[in-house]
C-alpha cells in the first residue's frame, strides 16, 4: 500500500466517523420553513413598496410638469393642431 492510498483510506475512515457523529436538530425543517416564508414575505413587501414608490414618483414628476406649463398654452404639444379633413 502506497503512503497516499493509506492516507486516502484513513481520510475516508475519519470522514465517516465525523459524519456519523453529526445529528441534525429535529426541528430543522420547521425553522427553515418559517425562515423561507418570512424572508419571502419581506421580499415581496419590499417589491410592492418599491413599485408604489416608483409610481408615486412618476405621478409627482408628471404633476410637476403639468403645473409648469402656462395656463393658456398647450399642455402636451407645442405646435399648432394639425388640420383635420372634414
Amino acid at each position: 500500500m502506497t503512503p497516499e492510498s493509506e492516507t486516502a483510506e484513513r481520510l475516508r475512515d475519519c470522514f465517516g466517523a465525523v459524519a456519523d457523529g453529526v445529528r441534525p436538530s429535529p426541528d430543522a425543517y420547521e425553522r427553515a420553513l418559517s425562515q423561507w416564508r418570512r424572508r419571502e414575505r419581506r421580499r415581496r413587501l419590499a417589491g410592492v413598496l418599491l413599485a408604489a414608490l416608483l409610481v408615486a414618483g412618476a405621478d409627482g414628476v408628471g404633476l410637476w410638469a403639468l403645473n409648469q406649463s402656462a395656463p393658456s398654452g398647450p399642455v402636451v404639444f407645442d405646435g399648432p393642431a394639425p388640420a383635420v379633413a372634414p
Binding site: F15, A17, Y29, A32, E40
Partner: protein
Amino acid sequence: MMSAGREVSAGPGGAATAGPMKIPNWLGLRDVERETAVTALFDQHYPGLVRMAVLLGAGVDAEDVVAEAFYELYRRWPRLRDPLAAPSYLRSVVCNLTRMRLRHLQVVRRHPDQPTVDIGSAEQEVVLREDQSEVIAALQTLPNRQRQALVLRYWLDLKEAEVAASMGISCGAVKAHTSRGMAALTRILTERR
C-alpha cells in the same frame, strides 16, 4: 390565492416534516408547488449536507449554512432549469458559504482587538480515535480549497467533473487541489509518526 388556514401533509414524509403545516394566505398555488418540491429535497438531502458542511469546516454554523443554501434554492426555484440540478446547486452553495465563513473567521482572527466568538468545531464534539483526530488536525491545516476538494472527492465520492461543478472551478484545478492536499496530508501524517 387559496383559502385561509389550508393544511397539507408536507413532503414525502420523514421526521423533519411530520405533521400537517398551515399555508399562509399570501402563498399562491405556484408557491405551494415550489415549497413541496423544496421540502422533498430538504427531506432527502438536509442531513447529508449538514455532515458535508461540518467536514468542510462550518463547525457550529453548519445547520445555518445549509438552511441558507435551501433558502437560496427556494428563492431561485422558478429560475432553476432542471430540478435534477438542485442537489448539485445545493452542494455548490454550501461550499461557497462555508468558504465565506472560514474567510470571515480568518479576518476576525487577524484583528485581536475585536471580541472573538466561540467557534467550537463540530468535529471536536464527535468522539474520535487518536489516529482519526490526527487526520482531522492535519486536515485543518490545509487551505480551504484543498480541504473542500478532499471532502468532496473522498467522502462524497464525487467524480472530478462533479467536484469542479460544486466548487465552481475547472477539472484541472480540482486535480491540482486534490493531489496537493493529499501530498500535504501524507507528509504531515508521516512526520507525526
